[in-house]
Structure formats: structure tokens, C-alpha cells
């Protein structure tokens, strides 16, 4: 009976639950009593398989090591297609390295963040904990094959990035033993503050982080003659008015208002013919790097066609290339292996490209 009583109380919201907690009603005892037969103990192997996080104090860090040179090789093969050979590319994702100085390493604060000199923030201008970078590479990279890197490979790739950021020399070997020393060199290690009201926990004085929820702006709800006039500080630039297409078509054509015509009264939405091949390419991320008729990061499909047209074995060679990834044919940015595509899908896409990708 009490189980259902408690469950229905939940619906009334937080306050009731807080009261329950304060009143010392032990929902812990309640839960354990009534959850019998639900859930089971995780085996050590299961916990090991999924408990992959690495904390700022390096709890969870796997044993291993990797050199800058090994990292460079791995980076070029697995990472450069999105991040550029030197982690500097802004083509697909924001740059990883750049914007930090030797002086920043001494102070632990990236000066460019306050001076306004930085055209772009990079991972290493922002990150204050090296565990963050290790953890993320290990859990989420490479983009198309997350969690495929072994610990030694993660160390190597991170060593390469540290070298690119001029934190460690070219003959450096990063390992679980010396990563804490690297932490002391991070250029923005003192660049974070938790003194703000947007962390919902207790204030720092009461053992939490943050300031206990105190806001940083104090507007007042004035109602009449609140200011002498309304000054418009910024309006929509003309190019931005049309960049999102025909706004007329993004609203109902009945009701109190209509979408504003942004592409002109004569613009009639062209019927979009179903294109399953293009959809397949888009769904699998191909169109992020290739245009139909233009180079983006990789060549346009028209350029691929021009190169392979008329070659008898073109289809087989291209299928193999797309599957395994490739480098050097179209410039310095390699294409990653595309193991996420099924063989049938690969063939369909290559046939489509070789027939003009229309």
C-alpha cells in the first residue's frame, strides 16, 4: 500500500518529495523492500566493459603509453580527415590546437581569450583538465568508429596533440605515469570558474560548487515610462533574411499571420523529386565532405566521375577505396575508412557517383 502511496505522491512534484526526504521517510528501505526481483548485480567484467570514464584526478585512466611519432601516424590515418593534419582545420569541426603560447603555459591562463586576439577558440585554448581530452578521444573518436582505439593509441594521439600545442617535445612518450605532469603545463588550466549561479547544487561554502544559484543580472519589472526611448541596436542583415529559405513556406497559409515572402512573390517551391541515392549519401555523412558538383573537404562527385570515367575496374576500385579510406589522391586531407556502410550501400553509392550523381 505504501508503495503506491509514495508513487502517487511523486506526481505532485518536488516539494512533496523534499518534505518526504526531510521528514526522514526512508524511501531507500522502501525501494529495496519492494524492488525485489528487479535488476541484478553487475559482474566485474560488465562494469569494466562500460566504466570507461576518466576523471580529472585520473581515476579510471587505463595503463599504457604512446609516442608523438606514433600519434602523428595514427592522427593522419584516423583523425586528419575531420581535424586537418595538424589539428588546425576548421572545415568539419572547430580546431583542436592553436592560439596558445609558451607564456600561457607558465601562467595557466590563455591570454588570447581576454585580449580579443584569438580569431577562433580551439580545444587547447579552453580545456583546463587533460583527463577531458583523453576521456573524449577514448570514448568518442574516431568519428565514424568510436571506441575502436586501444589505450596506447589514445596516449599516442594525445601525445601528438600535446606536441602540436608545443607542450611536449617531439620525442615525448605520454603514459599513465606522466600525464599528471602534463596537466601542470596545460595553457588554460586556471581558466575555469565555478563561481556562478547556473550550477544547481549547493554553494561552495556548503560543500558544493557554484554560488548556490544566485543570478548575475538584476532586472526590475518596471511597468510605465521605463526609459526615454527604444533604441534598436541590431537588425537582421539582408543576407540572413533569405539564408533560411522561403519563410512563407515555414508558416501555415491560414490563421492570423502569413510567413513573409523572402524569395519574392514569384518564387514557387520547386517540387523535390525523391532521390534515394542522395538520401543514402546524406544519411551516411558523405555530403559533409563531398559536394555533387563542388569540392568541400574532399572532391566533388563530378570530379570523381571525371577521373574514373571509362575505366573498366572503376567501380571495384572505388568501392574498396571508400571502404578502407584513402589519402593523397585529392590532396592532403585523407578520407576515413567507412566501416559503417554496408557493402550493398557502398556499391549503390559508387554506382550512383559513376553515373553522374544526379
Amino acid at each position: 500500500m505504501s508503495r503506491f502511496f509514495n508513487a502517487s505522491l511523486c506526481r505532485r512534484g518536488t516539494k512533496t518529495l523534499l518534505v518526504l526526504a526531510v521528514a526522514g521517510v526512508s524511501s531507500a528501505a522502501l525501494a529495496v523492500d519492494h524492488f525485489s526481483g528487479v535488476g541484478r548485480q553487475a559482474t566485474p567484467a560488465e562494469v569494466k566493459a562500460w566504466d570507461i570514464d576518466v576523471r580529472p584526478d585520473f581515476k579510471g585512466l587505463p595503463k599504457g603509453s604512446g609516442s608523438v611519432d606514433q600519434g602523428q601516424e595514427l592522427f593522419e590515418a584516423k583523425c586528419a580527415s575531420c581535424h586537418g593534419t595538424f589539428g588546425e582545420s576548421n572545415e568539419v569541426f572547430t580546431p583542436l590546437v592553436g592560439g596558445t603560447t609558451k607564456d600561457d603555459m607558465k601562467t595557466g591562463r590563455v591570454k588570447g581569450l581576454s585580449s580579443g586576439e584569438l580569431p577562433q577558440r580551439t580545444t587547447f585554448t579552453k580545456v583546463a583538465t587533460i583527463s577531458t581530452v583523453f576521456d573524449y578521444i577514448q570514448r568518442a573518436m574516431p568519428w565514424t568508429a568510436p571506441k575502436s582505439l586501444k589505450p596506447d593509441e589514445v596516449y599516442a594521439i594525445l601525445a601528438y596533440l600535446l606536441n602540436l600545442s608545443e607542450m611536449v617535445p617531439g620525442d615525448f612518450v605520454l603514459s599513465d605515469k606522466n600525464i599528471a605532469d602534463v596537466q601542470k603545463l596545460l595553457p588554460n588550466r586556471h581558466g575555469m570558474t565555478t563561481e556562478h549561479g547556473l550550477w544547481p547544487g549547493a554553494a561552495a561554502a556548503k560543500g558544493g560548487i557554484g554560488n548556490g544559484g544566485k543570478p548575475d543580472t538584476q532586472n526590475k519589472a518596471c511597468m510605465k515610462n521605463c526609459k526615454p526611448g527604444a533604441v534598436i541596436g541590431s537588425t537582421l542583415p539582408d543576407y540572413a533574411r533569405t539564408a533560411h529559405g522561403e519563410l512563407y513556406d515555414q508558416n501555415r497559409n491560414f490563421g492570423p499571420v502569413r510567413g513573409t515572402r523572402t524569395l519574392g512573390a514569384d518564387a514557387v517551391a520547386a517540387p523535390v523529386a525523391a532521390n534515394p541515392n542522395l538520401e543514402l549519401a546524406t544519411k551516411n555523412g558523405c555530403m559533409a565532405c563531398h559536394g555533387l558538383n563542388a569540392k568541400i573537404v574532399g572532391p566533388g562527385y563530378n570530379e570523381v566521375l571525371a577521373r574514373y570515367q571509362g575505366q573498366a575496374d572503376a567501380e571495384g576500385r572505388l568501392v574498396a577505396k571508400v571502404k578502407a579510406g584513402g589519402q593523397g589522391v585529392w590532396g592532403s586531407v585523407p578520407m576515413p575508412p567507412n566501416g559503417h556502410l554496408k557493402d550493398e550501400e557502398l556499391k549503390t553509392l559508387v554506382k550512383w557517383i559513376l553515373s553522374g550523381a544526379k
Partner: protein, 448 residues
Amino acid sequence: MGDIVKQPGRLRPAPENFLSEEQVKAVAAGRRDFLRKSFLAAGAALSAPLVARASEGDANILQNPAWTTSLGQPVAARPYGMPSQYESQLLRRESPGLARVGGASVSFAPLQGLFGIITPSGLHFERHHQGWHDIDPSKHRLMVNGSDDSLLKKAKVYTLDELMRLPSASRIHFIECGANTGLEWGNVAVPTVQYTHGMISCSEFTGVPLKYLLDDCGVDYKKARYVLAEGADGSSMTRTIPMEMVESGEVMVAYGQNGEMLRPENGYPLRLVVPGVQGVSWVKWLRRIEVGDMPYATKDEAVHYIDLLPNGLHRQYSSIQEAKSVITTPSGGQTLLDKGFYNVSGLAWSGRGRIKQVDVSFDGGINWQTARLEGPVQNKALTRFNTNWVWDGKPAILQSRAIDETGYVQPSYGQLRAVRGTKSIYHNNAIQSWKVIESGEVSNVQVL
């Protein structure tokens, strides 16, 4: 007819828009015979034997339309219902140029055409960090473990079968991406409310309070003051949650959304619900909860979702979405049809609790009137507000200002920038302004 040409924004469409704009011009130019023919054509399209003259009334009344004189579709013709064919325009959409890769992009909810406070599940905004999967629920597992074994009695694994046997709660909450309105920190950048504010949605979520599971695992709440939530997608999205929130009972391991299971794009079959906190913490495809004694500094709380201040420091672990509101009708990219009465409608919300009051201004913030809050007004949920407006055809600047139950008043752009500068990306909750000009066109502007 000349008025129509001079005042395009005041164009009153004929019933059912049977004239195109080109045809309206033709009529205005004196070709009235053309108007008669168009009426005939409209009548013929309905296969009506008799054509009513316009002077007798509306053809849509005088001639019974086909749906009144024929047999309709049977039940379950569409066993999982779809919107009307006439509702094809309000869709979630990407903002061009915002992201290069669809798997790490965002689609915005079309707030300009939604009603009430619940976002239809199919129009709920999406933000993925490594693409979405449609996960087989029979193979999905939730693990609860500790940063070390001293923090809980035993690490446990739950299946969906088991989680759905547990006492459930259903609550309505908003979820807002920390970057919502982020494009506009420096200046106006996008045309409509879909792109300025559409990274917010609100649903009724159903699930198990996380505290029940932590209790079940025997968590030591004195030591374990932080929770790490981890997803099952390629990015294995991870975020730190304060234990205070879990202990309050608000944080839920949810499987239901608006009466159905979660949609795959929103975390099917399991996601974390962290009311009041930015969306990135509502980990989708939730597969693991780890309790710990320190924050985790995961990528999305140490590299992204941090707020750059003018002094070069970043605010880290910023989570709460402060009180905010926006007028959705009328809003940027829309055109008012005529002078006269309008119901001005919008949404307000606060990550710190309930909305207490919303004020609306029609003169860019010089004078304000208090809007009606439509029920239900719920904790950390969207609240719909409405107010009356008679547009006199003159330029106006519409604003809304939310006040929550803590007394916090939504700030102006000037007030927010005075503290946080202009280089931030996240947590922009400044007062939004929509400018109306004589033609009835509404556009996005910023008033400091």
C-alpha cells in the same frame, strides 16, 4: 482594389485563397472578367453543379464541399496517425551553415506555429553529438555503478522490462539546449523564432525517479555527491549532475514521452530527464549512471557548454536555464494580415521553478502590460501566455519579459552583456524584440 497593391501586408485573402498573388494583380489591373472565370474554376473544382454568385455569400457555405457529401476514410486507415496534409509547412528544420555534419547538428522546433505548452513528439528539437540510432529495447541495458565500490553497496544492471515494472512518475518539463538563442549573442543573426528559440521543447515525460535506482543500489549519499550520466550512442555523451537534484526526486530515467515511448531522435528507449537544466545533461540513449565524489569535467562541460566571460575566464558546469520568454505569434518572418485585433501569444519558462508573471511591451520596453498566464502553470515547464493587442497599423516593437517564482526578472540584452560580454555562446536569455512595420511585416531586432 488599389489598396491591395499599396498595402500588401493588409491583403485580405478571399475565401480559401482561390486567387494567387499574380491573379490578384490581374484583377486589380481591371480584368474583372478574369475574377469571374476564377470563381467558375473554383466552383468546377468542387464538381458542384451550380455556381453561387459571390453576392449571395461564401461559396464554401453555399455549396456543400466534397467532404460533406461523400464517404470519408475508415478508422485505422492510418494506424499511427499523421498530421493533416495541409500541415506540411511546420517542420523541424536545420539552420544552414550552423554545422557541417548532420550527425553533430541541431534541428529547431517550429515554435511559430505551435499551441499550448506540449511540443508534438515529432517536432521536438534534435541535437545529436554523433548521430542517432534506433536502439532495440530488448538489448538495451542500464548500469548503475560507482567511481569506486565504496560509494554503493552493489553495482546493478536493469533491463527495460525491469525498469518499467518500477513506480513511475509523469511530469511536464521543458528541455532547452544551452545554446538556444546562442546565435544572437553578438547581434541579430536569424530571421524567425524557430531559429532564435527553437532549441526548446516541452513534453510529459514518464519514467522512474533516479533516486529509486540509487536507493536500490545502496548509494552512500554522504560521499557520492555527483552523478555521471552516460549515453549509448557513439559519442557516449557524458555529463555531471549534482546529487541534490537527484535527491529531490526530480531527475528521472524516462522511457515515455507524451503518452508514447520516446522517439529515437529523443533517446529511445531511455533518457535522463533533468528538469531546469540545459538539454545536454538530459543524456539520451542512457546506458550508465555512475555515482562519484567529484565532478567529471567531461568534454561537454570542459570544452563546450562553458561560458566565456570578458575577463577571459570560462564558467564551467553551467547548467540551469534561467527565466526566459518569447512571443511566438506574431514573430519574425511573419506578416500581419490587417490592422485590428490580435491575440499576442508566447512561451515563458524558468529552470528555477514556476513562471509567476509575464509582461508584454508594444513600444520596445518603455511601457509594459501583464499578460494572461494560461494553465497549467507548472514547475520547470513551458507556460503559455496571451495578451490582447489592437494593431493601429503603425510601427511597433513587441517584447515579452518573464518573472519566475524566485522573483528573477528576465534581463535585457544590455544587462546580460554588461556581465557576460558578447563572446558567449550559451545561456542567452535576453528579452527578444520583434519589430512590426506598416506593411505588417515582423522582423527580428535587438533592443539594448
